[in-house]
Symmetry: C2
Subunit: 169 residues, 2 copies
Amino acid sequence: MANTSGPTRERIFSESLALLESKGLAALSMRNLADRLHIKAPSLYKHVEGRDEIIADLQAYGISKFAEAMTAAKNSKRAKALAYRAWAIKNPHLYEVTLKVPLLRDRLPEGLESGVTAMIIELTGKDHEHARAVWGLMHGLVDLEIAGRFPPDADLDKTWSRAIQMLNQ
Amino acid sequence: MANTSGPTRERIFSESLALLESKGLAALSMRNLADRLHIKAPSLYKHVEGRDEIIADLQAYGISKFAEAMTAAKNSKRAKALAYRAWAIKNPHLYEVTLKVPLLRDRLPEGLESGVTAMIIELTGKDHEHARAVWGLMHGLVDLEIAGRFPPDADLDKTWSRAIQMLNQ
DNA sequence: ACCTGAACACCGTTCAAGT
DNA sequence: ACCTGAACACCGTTCAAGT
């Protein structure tokens, strides 16, 4: 036996995070993950219900890390907006796992999603509709940037400045 | 032999479109597509270089259909914005294939992407930065709506009205 | 309690072989 | 020119069998 102790739930989580951040979501397969833990894929199912549970863990982690970054940002609309972009660009795989695959609500810690939503609403300082529009703007710009949809010569700093102007409307 | 003529390039395209629109991108496998054409998957490779070529065809089709819908919309910012949302919600799988998987630029008709970008810039009637922010806003709202990210009681019509107000800033 | 090999139903793709 | 079966390297997941 290669392992005497076997992989704990925590080791599974930390290796899946390392795999996600280094190679992306597509590379996060049960077989690749098992390799890193020096076990075979079927053994993972003794610790975890399935791949979804791992994805849900990463979503929960991503959401709380994101919330931390937003809380840490200076308390101005401009600073918060730039923090949103900076976090997403620095953590594209975590951003992807929380926003490009279905959110596994059943497996997420109670109140996590609603807490972040409330935070977004609070920091816009206005009504729900306004907050949702702001979120749409931030998410859309980030998503298009990560997807490489803007032309290479686009000045996205300028684009974000323009977008931030809109937020006060 | 089940087929006397064999599937033409056009039949491959139309069946892949039908498969995409009825069952979504994940169901658009070479084997499922081959089944619809009453051939085996390897036979597809005599007509098509691979799955990417089919995806590229669908992206080109989706982009031009979207451009058509935008052109047809009444010539006001509000009407254009609502047309953007309406098209995306009515064609979620086409929207996904053009915006949630990498754009296969090498395989797209010359000038298609830049043409649509130019159209978006033109209809905002302002500078590139403004146009990009507007696109970000529309795309973000649509993407979050399709992903089911807004709470069920959210009044998205109101959210869009609020968003449209921002556009004039 | 934990790990394993074998298996099942999938994927995209290649290739020698048939007509 | 077109289609095929068999194969390769992948997926997530199940399960009987081993320790």
